[in-house]
Symmetry: C2
Subunit: 380 residues, 2 copies
């Protein structure tokens, strides 16, 4: 799901490396019809979905005469992921990933989850349904894949602490005034990772790390108080797990999303990967710093949202989604993102144990509220 | 075995922390009668052995009226480790550890091995006997404990590379001329670890890292070509394992031998330990360098010995043992250690598949040869 995005394309790179090991059953894209057609011609899936219905005719025509059936709309995605597939890799962007992921979980499919917003918005529901369906969610996010790999040898020993590493993003060393004036082009220049626009802005605000903390809390059933964010600019240590004897297990690698993607697909087996390998002497050094909540208020807002729980993280996600979209359209400034998110989570109608309907309602209400704030921001 | 040395004392620290989990059956010491008596009065073992027979009367008298029986000599050690004990922690120094360790393995005891020279001198024999006796050798060396911990979650995936970290010792940044003139007091000042004299000098020459490479080869059945030494001055990353997808699993901790000691005793359970915990932001950074074989020729000699195999590593160990003893007695200079070792391994009567007798013979012959060289060195 989301085959034309950054994670989707890298997933198909992994498939291309091991043609004997994978068969692509389904590819879905939001609106990148041209790339979806190219992918379908190469990987010959049974089905493709182009979510944007206005592009359906174009894709259908291009794939006529092939064995691939062409569908349109998110409902088709939700239906097809319950079909004849072993693993569903969810690389959708934002809240849109929730519905089809729940559908795939309901059908008992193994989930390789790159779409962290699904867990941010609806962690309790997703994990609960996964448990009931006997579904294991395999993380694709590099930090969570790292934690997962570090926990493989835990032998039942309780986790004392998770060290969640953060690159610090493109503005790590910038003073607040300079960050305040940053354009989206500056924010989109991530120092270590090549990713989609939404997550790259989330990295620049460090909201991404807040989301990852929420994601880690759900995936590894670890209280947020035991998850510590540490800034590690080189992005070589992808995260670490500490036990009560002080022993820390870490997972490291050159930044390349194909490594966690591949492991999520082939777990527990590790296949060869043609990625760059670590050369520690050439690397020279790895460094660490405390995160700065002053310059990166989104991280503090995420901590708040986790502390309040219920539907507040869903509100956090919705407000952030609207604000980041507005920032990417040059409609608001960098620190307006945290301003809008702060306002939205403060004003949310609190639901302590949200149902799926509560989550969808919170998302809708907060998106509207955020859009209203953005319009007001523009006219003030 | 070796309860009055650095590892032995720290092992008893661990026992002291968890009195409900451990019972000390046997304590052995080479000649530190006073400390052995104190330890026996505190831990009430069934038996103690003082290897130096001239100290037996003193220990016997001090422990008369207790339930502890007092023995003398290494033969007593070899006999008693086959008795009613679950785990034998071998913290003897040098080649002397081989005989009692083989005795304990023969009796099917689980071995917690701190005495690396046992594997350097007789790796094939020790591992072969352990396999036949169904004995698992649990590493105590911090690097090998790290590799062991990293491999816990390997799930059968082959190891592509072991990154064996080295502090670089007290002379890491010194030019060769300054190292050449170093006194034993300078060599005994290890920057990170508080250890016994022999291993501290081995760290200064980096022979210790060569020994560890040989130890890792045997413990983890990994060809030496896949084990890479990387200098890491902070001694925080204790070692790392790399898989074919480029993923590296590392084990980290503040330098404190009680962590690997405790894990070797309680594996797979991890108990609480009152050691210093890692604070990455406070740490600031971790650095890495290539080892310098020019200034640390002992490391190169160890590589040579591994390459030649057979009884050459036993010769390496014996020559080093004699040379380090002479250096500690101020009889030779720092680079005379590598000179003597080089001469001894060049001149060894090669045995491709040594029996235990061949190993003991090699050890005796090389010790004599080294002593002769040391005497000549002194008169030249």
């Amino acid at each position: 799901m989301g085959s034309t995005g950054s994670i989707g394309r890298q997933t198909l790179d992994v498939v291309r490396l091991h043609p004997d090991r994978f068969e692509v059953a389904l590819l879905t894209a939001r609106s990148s019809s041209e790339l979806l057609i190219k992918q379908a011609l190469e990987f010959k899936p049974d089905d493709v979905v182009i979510c944007d219905p206005s592009k359906w005719e174009e894709v259908r025509r291009a794939l006529s005469g092939t064995t691939t059936e062409v569908h349109a709309g998110m409902d088709s995605v939700c239906g097809l992921v319950t079909g004849d597939v072993d693993i569903v890799l969810s690389a959708l962007v934002g809240f849109s990933g929730l519905r089809p992921t729940l559908a795939a979980i309901g059908a008992g499919k193994t989930i390789a989850l790159a779409n962290k917003e699904t867990l941010v918005a609806a962690g309790s529901i997703v994990m609960d349904r996964a448990e009931k369906a006997g579904v294991r969610i395999r993380p694709v996010d590099s930090e969570h894949s790292a934690i997962w790999q570090c926990l493989e040898g835990a032998a039942g020993n309780p986790v004392e602490k998770i060290h969640l590493t953060a690159s610090g993003g493109p503005f790590r060393t910038w003073p607040r005034e300079r960050i305040a004036a940053a354009t989206k082009d500056m924010a989109l220049k991530h120092p270590n990772w090549s990713m989609g626009a939404k997550i790259t802005i989330d990295s620049a605000t460090m909201m991404n790390k807040g989301f990852e903390l929420i994601e880690a809390k759900w995936l590894f059933e670890t209280p947020a108080a035991k998850i510590h964010v540490v800034v590690h600019p080189e992005s070589i240590i992808h995260s670490m797990v500490e036990f009560r004897d002080g022993s820390v297990i870490a997972q490291l690698g050159c930044p390349d999303m194909r490594e966690p993607i591949q492991l999520a697909l082939t777990y527990p087996e590790r296949l060869y990967l043609n990625n760059k390998k670590l050369d520690f002497a050439a690397l020279g050094s790895l460094s660490f710093q405390e995160p700065d909540l002053e310059r990166f208020p989104c991280l503090g807002l995420a901590f708040d949202a986790i502390g309040r729980g219920g539907n507040v993280p869903a509100a956090l996600n919705a407000a952030n989604e609207a604000a980041v979209a507005a920032y990417l359209e040059d409609r608001i400034g960098f620190y307006d993102i945290s301003g809008i998110v702060s306002d939205c989570i403060d004003g949310v109608d609190f639901v302590a144990e949200p149902s799926p309907e509560d989550i969808f309602t919170t998302n809708d209400v907060v998106l509207r509220r955020a859009d209203e704030l953005i319009r007001r921001w523009l006219h003030s």
